[in-house]
């Protein structure tokens, strides 16, 4: 599911890490699966995001519908 990252409701240090790893505000990401973690593709990079983190990342589906959880 393609989506755009709106915000991350996390401590500043965690947000800085997410930005460094590629999850920056406005980036397009694609949720590839939910196993033990959320698997997300960003800029040809595959990331596994723990559920506790994913729940605090707000994204908008590219069809315009807002979602609070990828």
């Amino acid at each position: 599911m393609p989506a755009r990252l709106d915000s991350a409701l996390l401590p500043a240090c965690d947000v800085a890490f997410l930005e460094a790893i590629g999850l920056v505000h406005g980036c397009t990401l694609c949720v590839r699966g939910r196993g033990c973690a959320f698997i997300v593709d960003v800029d040809s990079t595959r990331l596994a995001v723990a559920g506790s983190v994913a729940r605090r990342i707000m994204v908008s589906p590219l069809d315009g519908e807002r979602s609070a959880d990828p």
């Binding site: 890490f17 460094a20 196993g35 033990c36 800029d43 990331l47 596994a48």
Partner: protein
């Protein structure tokens, strides 16, 4: 696809005017000292190995390089020094790896070898993300070179990168390379002689990200339709490997298969090594004059070292197979699987890498725990890491499992896997205890990059295997030899008169030699063993063993086993060589089978030293006990005080003692003595 160096000659000139002057071709000029920077998993360490020929630890998942490895690039002229720094996603993060990189860039190693240039490794398969870091690293004022790594993988994905255009956009040389295949590394070596300083100013992350995307869009020209089908395949594999149930089943299957493979394939070389050292010992006894020196060489040195080296094939196989798993991309998935499993016990998924490394040795594992962001997470990981079964325990496991399940490889493999499971189980339960008592708190959140699946590199696996195998041999050749010599001396002195019974048997043998030669031979042999046993019992080692034996009496250990445990507090693997030295003094020394000699060792009353319950209890003891002085020293250093090392020692030893006692009593209660 461009493979030539895309350089900027004009910028090379600017380098000499920079804050950190670089004049590599001038006579007696200072060396070019490069800091090797890049994201985790961009292949920095593989490229470093390729350029310098050094054996650094590399893996296909983040967090492997924890220290700084410095090597000289294999090139002419004045040469180039490269420092392989930990992979980091940014130099400005408040994370250990970022701090290490920042400190090294500013101060070098304790003020020496401050780098005057940077070699930034970019991942050609995800250029846009790498370019953000490239700009961040180069805009700090040092001249640099960009190595566009993983070009072989990019090509397979149908990506074509315009390196000259990219070089113009960045403002310094860009060299397409493949650290795995060696492609382009000769050109990279040439480019290292002429780094350039970029004109790009430092900027905020949003601006850098936008610039990186524009640049990547302009330089990456093509994307093959095959990439889509590859993504689908990767999705399907990831769906299985990270599934809460399926992923765990795959993990258990992979690990059991790994241990069964080790047990099956290592048997032949182990037998050959044992045979070789057995014959060598016999040859020494045949050619050297009887005396203390002959006994030292044959029973002390040769037997002691053989008892350790016999396990080299298994250790090499373990590292070889783990390296293949790492390189394939599987272990990163396993790490995230582990996050879900470890989190309820108070450990973060980041602890997976240190805990896995602890299967090789707890010392580098504790050092790799430096990369765990949260200090409490890190401390908890350090405290429990020694529970994981390290390679030093392997010889003891193999010895004792061989006693418990002779000629039954499946059961032996299960027991072997059980030892690893017991160690891991003790680690996580201890972590739970630790996080609720001395290191309170919950672990931090985890985000991890999943590298693409790839065919593992045999070269990398063989390098890792050779590196670890040689380290084990070096240890056997130094510490263990020294301990063997000391143990032999303690077991041989002070000299004592033979016991009366042995003297009587020898007299009887002389009396009957003409009438019954076979009986005379038997009597002589019996007298010899009685003399050896008496001498050992009255030696320094024997006295020490008898003194501590009451402590281990509840576990069923006699004084020889007590000595084995005491001596292996220095290093666990010493247990086997200690037992060989001790039994060499009491059993038939001409027996070529060293392990058989231990297995059939008897007490003074003729009962076996190793019963089922004793061997099983001893196995559990070695799984859980903290018997490694160097590990305790590293705990003190990494955790920040002796109190943590003391806590670790007392807790693990007490747990091991109680567990071993429980196993022995339990087995005896169901009739297994």
């Amino acid at each position: 696809m461009s493979t030539a160096v895309a350089g900027c000659p004009a910028d090379a000139q600017r380098a000499s005017d920079s804050v950190h002057p670089v004049t590599p071709h001038a006579p007696h000029a200072p060396q070019v000292r490069y800091a090797l920077l890049g994201h985790p998993n961009t292949g920095r360490s593989t490229l470093f190995n390729r350029l310098c020929g050094l054996r650094t630890r590399t893996a296909n998942y983040p967090g492997t390089t924890t220290g700084i490895r410095v090597g000289r690039c294999k090139t002419g002229g004045n040469g180039v020094l490269l420092a392989d720094l930990p992979g980091t996603y940014s130099l400005d993060l408040d994370l250990p790896e970022s701090r290490i990189c920042r400190t090294y860039l500013e101060q070098g190693k304790a003020g020496r070898d401050v780098p005057n240039a940077v070699l930034v490794v970019a991942d050609a398969t995800c250029l846009a993300r790498s370019l953000v870091f490239v700009r961040e690293a180069l805009s700090r004022g040092r001249p640099g070179v960009v190595a566009l790594n993983k070009m072989d993988l990019a090509r397979r994905r149908g990506l074509t990168i315009d390196a000259p255009r990219l070089s113009r956009a960045i403002g310094c040389p860009v060299v397409p390379v493949s650290g795995r295949s060696g492609e382009g590394t000769d050109l990279l070596v040439e480019a290292l002689a002429a780094p350039a300083t970029t004109d790009l100013p430092a900027a905020g992350r949003t601006e850098m990200t936008a610039w990186a995307r524009r640049t990547a869009d302009a330089c990456v020209r093509e994307r093959s339709p095959a990439a889509g089908s590859r993504d689908v395949l990767t999705d399907r594999i990831d769906a299985v490997l990270t599934h809460p149930v399926g992923g765990v089943l795959v993990f258990c299957t992979v690990m059991t298969g790994l241990f069964m493979t080790i047990f099956s394939l290592a048997t032949v070389p182990m037998d050959l090594i044992e045979l070789l050292f057995g014959y060598t010992g016999q040859w020494v006894r045949a050619v050297m004059a009887p005396g203390a020196v002959r006994d030292l060489v044959s029973d002390g040195l040769i037997a002691g070292v053989a008892g350790t080296l016999v396990f080299l094939p298994q250790i090499c196989l373990l590292f070889f197979l783990i390296s293949l798993l790492e390189d394939s991309g599987y272990l990163a998935r396993a790490a995230f699987l582990a996050d879900r499993a470890l989190r309820p016990f108070g450990l973060p998924g980041h602890a997976f890498v240190p805990l896995l490394s602890a299967h090789a040795c707890a010392i580098p594992a504790m050092m790799s725990a430096r990369l765990i962001p949260d200090n409490r997470d890190r401390l908890a990981t350090i405290l429990v890491a020694p529970f994981m079964s390290c390679s030093a325990r392997l010889p003891v496991y193999v010895l004792l499992i061989g006693f418990l399940f002779p000629a039954r490889p499946f059961l032996a493999a299960m027991a072997f896997a059980g030892c690893y499971a017991l160690g891991a189980g003790a680690a996580v339960l201890t972590a739970l205890l630790v996080r609720r008592t001395v290191v309170r708190g919950r672990p931090g959140a985890m985000v991890l990059e999943l590298p693409p699946f790839q065919v593992p590199s045999m070269r990398t696996a063989l390098m890792v295997t050779a590196d670890r195998g040689l380290a084990f041999v070096r240890n056997a050749g130094t510490v263990i030899v020294a301990i063997c010599v000391v143990l032999w001396w303690m077991s041989a002195y002070p000299s004592t008169d033979p016991p009366a019974q042995a003297t009587a048997w020898r007299a009887e043998a002389r009396a009957v030699v003409d009438v019954d030669p076979q009986r005379a031979v038997d009597l002589e042999a019996r007298a010899g063993i009685a003399e050896s046993r008496h001498a050992l019992a009255n030696s320094f080692l024997g006295r020490l063993g008898h003194a501590v034996q009451p402590v281990f009496e509840p576990l069923g250990y006699d004084w020889t086993l007590s000595i084995g445990i005491l001596s292996s507090f220095a290093a666990r693997e010493v247990f086997v060589s200690t037992m060989i030295v001790i039994t060499g003094a009491t059993e038939d020394p001409d027996n070529a089978g060293l392990l058989e000699r231990i297995r059939t060792a008897t007490r003074a009353d003729g009962t076996p030293v190793f019963t089922m319950s004793t061997a099983a209890g001893l196995l559990v003891f070695y799984v859980l006990a903290m018997q490694c002085l160097p590990t305790l020293a590293v705990t003190r250093r990494e955790a920040g005080g002796w109190r943590w090392a003391a806590l670790q020692l007392v807790y693990m030893t007490a747990l091991a003692y109680v567990a071993a006692l429980g196993v022995r009593v339990g087995l005896q209660s169901i009739g297994i003595a």
